[in-house]
Amino acid sequence: MERSDQTADILSAFDDAGIGYAVTDREGRLLSASPAFLAETQLPPDAVPSKAAWFTLDASEAVVQAVRGALWRDLVGGGQVWRGWVRWRLPDGETKFFEGTAKPLSDTRVVLIANDHSDLIEADRALEESEATLRTILDRLPLSVTLQGPDGRIAYINDYLPRRLGLPRTAFLNKGPGDVLVSKPGEAVADAIRRALDRREALDAWPLDITIGPLAGTSWLLFTRPILGHGGDLRRYLIIAVDRSAEAALAQERERFARTLAETQKVGALNDFAGALAHELSNILHPAGVYARALAKDPDQVDRGVLAGRIADAVRSAGDILRRTLLMARGEAEPRKVQDLRPFLHEVVETARDLAPRGLTYAVDPPEGAVSAVLVATEFRQVLLNLLNNAAEAQAHKGRILIRVEDEAPLPANLLVQPTASGPFALVAVIDEGEGMDVATATHTFEPFFTTKSAGRGTGLGLPVVLGLVTGWGGTVSVDSAPGEGSTFSIWVPKGSPKRWEERGEV
């Protein structure tokens, strides 16, 4: 009695836990079934006792039910315990998964226990499906995704690199990332990357140029993140590598184009410069010739001191021009250097003043201290002379041109090109009193061969060259103008050096 009470309690607990049980005959026909069993299988109460075997009572196809029948007979015929999964199809087409146990009790009785695990199975399957989807997406991404284990070996790699290199994924797994990402030890950049990866730090947009090995000539950006466990221990190290060789090639192409333009423009500038120089020198030499001839003809004339003084003045003026011209032409392949830009600025402005006709003045408004910036001195002179020439043309070679300099200035919103250096930036602005222009025209001024000057007066190459050179230093340009209000052309020169130059030891 006590034992049967206990059994009843246990069976009741089974029901409460949602674990169903039933008793069948050897053919599998239901003799009795617990409420939980009926609830799980959604069989109506009047289905018990059943005329057919329990495994034929769901909505599964006949083939499936036939297979179940064969298994059942094998098991029950052999007097063994069966354990396995039952995929139970409900009338509405929904599928449930039961963990089932069937054990012969006697020659005529079999006990069947069914535990509904549908939620778990569904969750597992959903996880599997989402993982599969994720893997597919990862494999199709146009970038390399790698997961390193705590030991530094690659635990996962998406299909990008293997596909690019024509290698199986297994060629990468369980190797160090340096073996894959970096071709050979000993190379400076490779070592920098290897050291960075060994520190297992988070890197953002770390540039990597590969110069040897199967990926030679490609440029990458690395993004890495350590993934830590609850105890702060390193579980995984995520490395994402983006191939931006195409962009890098494009940037190089742009740089080459800017240099070619600079060369072309130099020829035009040389013509203008030669003309201006000839004009200046002829104006100096002519009076000197006149007074020298007068003195030669009559060395004893009364005002010989005055005439000789004028000749001396002419020689001194010509000498000044000569020295400035040499300064302008100096230096070809100069390195970028952090330097005070004020001396170069004053040199160029003095040259412009020398060549300016009367009525055209230049005013410089520099800060008191040094204005250090990363620049190439010759290029800076060229850029500034270009801007001053443009300003002079814009106001028909008369009036005042203001040059404003700031040691550190925030970038404006209307930049044509984003600078490659991170800043801060020094500002040199050339402000003219010309006719000004509308926004559309202002934006076009940096396009090659665009010119607002009349035919034969401008090559349309000055400002593109300015843009090319300034962006070459990591800086950028901007223009502010409105019709009738003059124009301000500004160059923004980085005060610090971009990371890449430091790596190459350029700065």
């Binding site: 003309g275 200046e280 002829s282 030499l285 002519h286 006149v290 007068a294 006709p357 055209l360």
Partner: protein, 126 residues
């Protein structure tokens, strides 16, 4: 008495040209801007105008055209300028009817020959 008007934006050049003319016995006046030259041209009886073609940001050749229209004979002086070849200056000056084109620095005799030729020619016409 009619005078020779010397127009150059560089005072040193203008002064030296007048120096040569005056020592040769001519009366000469000077102007260093196009505006002043225009005024002098209208007010005075200018026998001859000697002008520079790169002045004060204005194209001296444009002013040369004005002088040509006024009927006064003129001599063009040039020392080059931004984006301008000496050949193109000569061609334009000839087209406008310049008596002579002188390239600075020029000899005193070149100037005086051109002046003598012009003023001599002009007096024979009277």
């Amino acid at each position: 008495m009619s005078a020779i008007l010397v127009v150059d934006d560089d005072p040193a050049v203008g002064e030296s040209v007048r120096f040569v003319l005056e020592r040769a016995g001519y009366a000469a006046t000077g102007a260093s801007t196009v505006a002043a030259a225009r005024e002098a041209l209208m007010a005075d009886d200018t026998a001859l105008c000697i002008l520079d073609v790169w002045m004060d940001g204005e194209d001296g050749l444009d002013f040369a055209a004005e002088v040509a229209r006024s009927g006064a004979p003129f001599i063009v002086m040039s020392g080059g300028g931004p984006g301008r070849s000496l050949e193109s200056v000569t061609a334009k000056a000839d087209a406008l009817g310049a008596v002579a084109v002188l390239y600075k620095p020029f000899e005193d005799e070149e100037l005086l020959n051109a002046v003598r030729a012009t003023l001599g020619k002009k007096s024979s016409e009277l």
